[in-house]
Amino acid sequence: MTMKPVTFTLNGATKAAFTTDGQNLLDFLRRGVGDLSPKYGCGQGTCGSCTVLVDGAPQLACLVLAETVEGKRVETAAGLAAGARLHPLQEAFMDRFAAQCGYCTPGMLMAAKALLERNPRPTRDEVIEAIGGNICRCTGYEPIIAAILDVSQGRVRA
């Protein structure tokens, strides 16, 4: 099995690790780099729980070939908090009970972050569209939508 070195930044810090031929980014982050925040739900692109940002764009880590992040910027939910201070989206998700089992939460947070970076004042429909690739089996989505709107409309203490 060929091992290939990959150097990239993960949540702002430079990382170098070996990937194997055909390894997807999700497996690489979790097993190769030790970032357990992106979750494995389906491995086929349908659940969104593995969503990470690659050079700022939301992508499904289970469908990204790990070696293609060479030189790129990867962001995961593990990088959202600044030390002990949670990211406003994390605060809002807690306040609104937008996480139940929590399995979808890291992917939801990253999809929401991508939206707010591109469009800081989204409409409700734009929020729904932005999380349309992320499945949640617990919350019924409404608390998640409310939490994201809270952040965009400045209702979150942080």
Binding site: M1, T2, T20, D21, G22, Q23, N24, G43, Q44, G45, G48, T51, A57, P58, Q59, L60, C62, L63, V64, L65, E67, T68, A111, A114, E129, A130, G132, G133, N134
Partner: protein
């Protein structure tokens, strides 16, 4: 995992490496990576980092879209406004960041929504090995022989209202297609000249409907013409049965959706 991945600097190198070896080309990977994860795709994987793949170029009335251009790139491109609704209908936001135009031409049923629009627009595929561009219907007829595609050349509709698009899915907005329809109906003094109508998920790959085009050609888009077109909508198409819909259902509803699309374009 029995795969090896080769990255080639230029598309022509990638095309040579692919040859007729049975290796798999990796575009955005939304279909291929699924196969690799499941162990269904094995052997050599060939990819290319050629920047030309990601370029969009305009010359006169023709738009050249690199095969590696993503749906998100299309949806953000000002000159491609007529294609925005089509690009936005492919998967969710993450899929659109990854899914490429080239991959959409080869994605199996029920995928290929973007290819349906390209087919109706009269687009041509530019082979990576050089040589003349190929009408999309020829490529789609036998995709196994398609070879590596460098770009698609899309004639820009003179009147944007001549192009219409509709996708029917059960889960909105990102569910896969029950069917999709694209129509290019340029009009001269009120009459349709050069009708092109294509269906997705109504055959093994996106297909033009000769029957509908015959009904529309030379006519004005009035209620009687639309009714006749709706009647023959499923003629000559072979919709597959899958978990989204049965072949019977797709045939039954094709005319209804075609009528809605044409009424919107009248």
């Amino acid at each position: 995992m029995a795969v090896t991945v080769e990255t080639h600097a230029t598309l022509i190198d990638a095309a040579r490496a692919l040859g007729s070896s049975g290796a798999t080309y990796l575009g955005g990977g939304t279909v291929v990576m699924r196969g690799i994860n499941a162990g269904e795709v094995q052997g050599r994987i060939v990819r290319s980092a050629d920047p030309a793949l990601r370029q969009v170029g305009l010359s006169g009335d023709t738009i050249r879209i690199g095969a590696g251009v993503t749906m998100a790139q299309i949806a953000a491109h000002r000159e491609l406004a007529f294609l925005h609704p089509v690009a936005r209908a492919v998967g969710g936001p993450q899929v659109r960041e990854m899914a490429t135009v080239g991959g959409n031409l080869f994605a199996p049923h029920p995928y290929g929504d973007f290819a349906v629009a390209l087919l109706a627009l009269g687009a041509r595929a530019v082979p990576a090995t050089g040589g003349g561009a190929l009408p999309l219907e020829d490529l789609l007829r036998d995709r196994r022989r398609g070879g590596l595609v460098a770009a698609v050349e899309v004639p820009r509709p003179r009147d944007p209202r001549a192009f219409g698009w509709l996708k029917v899915s059960r889960v909105k907005p990102k569910g896969v297609s029950v069917l999709s329809i694209a129509a290019c109906l340029p009009r001269e003094t009120g009459r349709i000249r050069g009708a092109r109508v294509a269906f997705g998920a109504m055959g093994p790959s996106p297909m033009r409907s000769a029957a509908v085009e015959r009904v529309l050609e030379g006519q004005s888009l009035d209620a009687a013409t639309i009714a006749r077109a709706a009647q023959v909508a499923a003629e000559g198409l072979e919709p597959p049965t899958d978990s989204i819909a049965s072949s019977w259902y797709r045939r039954e509803v094709a005319g209804v959706h075609l009528r809605r699309l044409l009424e919107g374009m009248a």
